[in-house]
Symmetry: C2
């Protein structure tokens, strides 16, 4: 507990998972929850749950568990979900258009305020409340409007250029749907939604089950 | 190395990653690659790379590394990417429509042959080559057409019912975009694309960097 260090990605994912569980049980009318119950619902050990939550404050009441409402409010604040982040989408194709209408973004505080594309034939058209603007204006727009988050929904070949514009415009968080790794400076967080990897996982699972039984083992603990 | 066991999810993800790297370096004209170079490009240790690949056969040539073409072919086969999987989409809204047009699906061997929705006003309309059919026909269709994969792109409330129809129709692999866990029997593989978790990770990162420095630490090794 001495030297501060960065919270790991997997811890943040577990915090997300706790928050989702708390929402569900609160809507069922549950007011307190034990670390054992949270662990069971999240597929974790209760020691892990107590450890994760203890880093962020003292939420538990001994012998009684956690207050669901208090813990939910605390996690919402820790995850920054009580704020609104101004967000732009780069790429106004089918995927970009679907994302702009995706209700999870505003629900989570990501307000999409601008859409950018390279295709001159799309410029000036509207998707939802946003007019499609040329990608050349992205940097200035992001700077002027203090945009926090960029969503890249371009084809692979345009993704790095989109990232460069976003970074130049001062954006520190990118959600990348393009099937490639982005080169960004330290201090910029990229989350990659890689459908190809999910598809390959599915393909592997059904290949394996339709073959003769394999005798493969792995050395992984997971 | 004695008793066979299931290949872990993280091993499969690393195989996907190796395959992506091999494609990239092959298109640059590289013919052989060392485990050290693969490790460097994938952000892993060379011991991990050698261990992963040794489970699936003896691809390496001592002192020379792996033949890029041979290893690529082998991984493509292991991941089942040399086959075509008949795939249906449930949910013909914006997300479903975007997915039907997403080039990564056919590129990875997932041929979308059917689209289903509950909304009577959508029935009979076409998306791409597919006519939108009523979800009540899903089970029989999946059985008759030997569908391997189902993609759920419905709202949260309709997702479990969609999964039930898919499972009843004999489908063993589901890609779930709905923001909820699905209840499926053993032997059915579900991959969950959870944008909410990615969004919360981004939100956490920018909250953390815009606050006063935190003194949080985690107990994780990752």
């Amino acid at each position: 507990m001495s030297s501060p260090r960065k919270v790991s990605d997997s811890t943040v994912r577990r915090l997300s998972s706790y928050l989702r569980i708390l929402r569900d049980i609160q809507s069922d009318g549950t007011h307190t929850v034990s670390s054992e119950r949270l662990a069971e619902l999240g597929g974790l050990t209760s020691a892990q749950v107590r450890k994760d939550l203890s880093f962020f404050g003292n939420f538990g009441v001994r012998g009684r568990g956690y207050d669901v409402g208090d813990l939910r409010t605390a996690l919402t604040g820790i995850l920054g979900l009580d704020r609104t982040w101004k967000t732009v989408v780069v790429g106004a194709g089918r995927l970009g258009s679907a994302l702009i209408s995706y209700p999870e973004f505003p629900n989570q505080g990501f307000a999409i305020v601008g859409v950018f594309d390279v295709d001159p034939s799309k410029l000036g058209r509207r998707i939802g409340d946003c007019e499609i603007r040329p990608v050349q204006e992205l940097r200035d727009y992001a700077e002027r409007e203090s945009i926090s988050v960029g969503i890249i929904a371009t084809p692979r070949v345009a993704a790095q250029e989109a990232a460069d514009h976003l970074v130049a415009g001062g954006i520190r968080a990118i959600l990348n749907f393009a099937p490639m790794a982005l080169d960004v400076p330290p201090g910029v967080t990229v989350r990659h939604v890689n459908l190809a990897i999910e598809l390959e996982g599915l393909s592997f699972a059904i290949t394996e089950s339709s073959n003769v039984p394999t005798t493969i083992e792995t050395g992984d603990a997971d």
